[in-house]
């Protein structure tokens, strides 16, 4: 069954672009340009996620989100805001947004994040081990093994690999990695993340082994079980 997404966005061009792109990606999309109507819709029928613009003509995104959370509605929300507002982002996340995207964004980035919030584990039961194919990660001893071979990883490399494996089969963007592992919310200008990934890849995907870490063009990376 396909996921239902609510888009609350007053910019008609962004709105129709999102409706089209998300529709093509297999989501069922409902839209409104009004904050009040958005709040009404969000409190009503069950949406799987809400894409919410920060600036709306009647009720601004932040207030809408606060009302929603006050009403104990935990539908995942991705906030959209105008370019380069780091402090806005912090404010948004504090108000209960699950993720935050700065306009302009690539659709791949939005899709990856939407995917991430939709599949966010609802109950955080303590895992001690996660795996992907024959790659095993021990979260207690903080070590990784592949097919009986121990993989030597630096601390950040381990965190990046853990981040990827927890989202196996899903696209992870560079920005998501930077945020998830380093907790910095800026677009990396140089290829910092790529260099780290290529190192991890050299260690994880040894010679003769099936490559697990894939580069997704124009989006980011994805780890799969190699099948």
């Amino acid at each position: 069954m396909s996921r239902r997404i609510l888009i609350v966005e007053d910019d008609t061009e962004t709105q129709s672009y999102l409706v089209k792109a998300l529709g093509e990606a297999g989501y069922v999309v409902e839209r409104t340009a009004s904050g009040r109507e958005g709040l009404f819709l969000a409190t009503g029928s069950g949406f799987d996620a809400i894409i919410l613009d920060r600036m709306l003509p009647d009720l601004d995104g932040l207030s809408l989100l606060k009302s929603l959370r006050a009403a104990k509605i935990a539908t995942p929300v991705i906030m959209l805001t105008a370019m380069s507002a780091i402090d806005e982002r912090v404010r948004g996340l504090r108000s209960g947004a699950d993720d935050y995207l700065i306009k302009p964004f690539s659709f791949a980035e939005l899709e990856a994040r939407l995917d991430a919030v939709l599949r966010r584990p609802s109950d955080a039961h303590e895992e001690t081990q996660i795996s992907c194919g024959d790659l095993e990660i021990d979260l207690i001893s903080r070590s990784a093994r592949r097919g009986g071979r121990t993989i030597e990883l630096q601390q950040r490399e381990f965190q990046m690999l853990e981040y990827l494996v927890r989202r196996k089969g899903r696209v992870v963007t560079r920005t998501m990695l930077l945020e998830g592992v380093w907790d910095y919310h800026f677009d990396p200008k140089t290829n910092v993340i790529d260099v780290h990934i290529s190192r991890i890849r050299r260690k994880v995907d040894g010679e003769g082994e099936t490559p697990l870490i894939k580069t997704i063009r124009g989006a980011g990376y994805m780890i799969t079980n190699g099948a």
Binding site: M83, I86, D87, R89, D183, H185, F186, V192, H196
Partner: protein, 464 residues
């Protein structure tokens, strides 16, 4: 706008001041002279009046005791013995015919019980018409008695006083107007200088300044302050102009390339792989443009202090360590080692994300320009009243005379444009430093560039 060199016009503050001054001088002069007139001048003073009135009553008593002939004798004796020669007496019968005294006849203007009267009368003893102040009394028999004083001298004094008053007013007015006019010329000339400079600046000559006369007076001080303001304004305008110029240049080039890539992608016979390459190129250009705009906006936001309400203690040491872990790999690939000399637990009050962005800029700068150098060094340390984070590279560095300029938006050290970057990085870092009450200092790393961020402790200024 234009004002002739002529006389004081009333449309300026100086003239109004002069007129007010003039009025004040006139009133006070009049008051002083009026007081003199009132105290020494007039016809007869109060003391004289009481003396005369007492004399009048004495003579009346004498008349009652000795009759008209006795009183006439007394009067004659008094006239003869009057030393000042100003005493005037007249005893007349009820019809006004004189019995004794030094007046020719009973004056028409005076009748008994009128009180004090001053008028011109003919004195028989001096033989001249004089100003007399006198008081009269009807005696029991119906005869009339007049006693008075010759006030000719006082009237003359009065006239002198009046003339003095008029002359004083005239002289005062003239002097005030002349000095006022000179003062106003002086003030207006200085003010016009400022005004002319301002007008010249308005027409675009931003480098004009008000000339100082070196006197150190209030006009010089005002001009000095104005000039300082004009310096700052010129700086800002020049900066803004450079930003606009550079922005249009920096936008035009990638936009041109973007247009070219899109046009190539449109051609029908292009292979799809080739078309994808063009689209990728276009996307790169758009990303570059977005980065440029985001950076410009970050600078504006930092300069406006946006985000300062979310300041919290930031662990500078931990942040530097994180960023080293982020950039290590990239640096290694570029053949540069990152050495960290980080003292633990150095904190500053600030915005973690914005600070991290600034430090990232310095690291990327060092990586970009420090090529050829073996290592870059990141150090974090506590100073006496401040926290310090510095990044040193061993690249070509920045010549001393350009160091102040590279923190301006779009300023590029000669030839560094080829290395990428729009010349916004250091401007952003400097703006972020200012936002955090700190500063960015660039110095010689011998060789290379040493960029130091210093954050003064908050409250250090008053906490002695």
């Amino acid at each position: 706008m234009t004002r002739g060199p002529g006389f004081v016009a009333f449309n300026n503050a100086t003239s109004r001041l002069i007129v007010a001054h003039l009025a004040l001088v006139a009133v006070s002069t009049a008051m002083i002279l009026g007081f003199i007139y009132w105290s020494v001048g007039g016809t007869v003073d109060a003391e004289t009046k009481s003396v005369v009135e007492a004399e009048l009553r004495g003579l009346e008593d004498g008349y009652r005791a000795r009759g008209p002939s006795g009183l006439a004798k007394v009067i004659d004796r008094r006239i003869a013995t009057n030393r000042d020669g100003d005493a005037v007496y007249l005893l007349s019968d009820p019809n006004g015919h004189p019995i004794a005294g030094n007046l020719r006849s009973w004056p028409l203007g005076i009748s008994p019980d009128d009180g004090w009267v001053t008028l011109q009368l003919f004195r028989t003893d001096t033989g001249a018409e004089k100003w007399i102040s006198a008081i009269a009394l009807r005696l029991v028999s119906g005869d009339r008695l007049l006693v008075g004083r010759d006030v000719g001298a006082r009237v003359a004094f009065d006239n002198t006083l009046w003339r003095a008053l008029l002359w004083a007013l005239f002289a005062m007015t003239t002097l005030t107007l002349v000095t006022g006019w000179m003062l106003s010329r002086l003030v207006l000339s200085r003010i016009d200088e400022v005004g002319n400079t301002a007008r010249e600046i308005m027409t675009g000559a931003l480098d004009r300044r008000v000339t100082l006369r070196g006197t150190g007076d209030e006009f010089d001080r005002l001009a000095d302050t104005l000039n300082a303001m004009l310096d700052r304004n010129e700086e800002l305008v020049t900066d803004l102009r450079m930003v606009t110029d550079s922005l249009s240049h920096d936008l035009r080039t990638p936009l041109g390339r973007l247009l070219a890539a899109l046009e190539r992608a449109e051609s029908a016979e292009m292979a799809s792989a080739e078309r994808n390459a063009e689209i990728a190129r276009a996307r790169t250009e758009v990303r570059g443009l977005l980065t440029l705009l985001a950076q410009l906006m970050d600078i504006s936001r930092a300069e406006a202090g946006i985000g300062a309400d979310q300041f919290a203690p930031v662990d500078l040491s931990a942040m530097a360590g994180d960023l080293v872990s982020l950039y290590e790999a990239v640096a290694e690939d570029a053949g540069i080692a990152i050495r960290a000399e980080i003292a633990p637990d150095v904190t500053v009050n600030g915005h973690a994300q914005i600070l991290a962005g600034a430090v990232t800029n310095l690291i990327e700068n060092a990586l970009r320009h420090g090529e050829g150098g073996r290592e870059i060094v990141i150090s974090v340390a506590r100073e006496e009243r401040s926290s310090r984070l510095s990044i040193g590279d061993h690249g070509p560095g920045i010549p001393a005379e350009q160091r102040a300029k590279v923190v301006q938006r779009f300023y590029q050290v000669d030839g560094s444009r080829q290395n990428g970057g729009a010349g916004l990085g250091l401007a952003l870092v400097a703006a972020v430093a200012r936002m955090h009450g700190g500063e960015l200092v660039l110095s010689d790393n011998k060789p290379g560039l040493l960029a130091t961020l210093t954050f003064r402790d908050q409250g250090a200024e008053n906490g002695r």
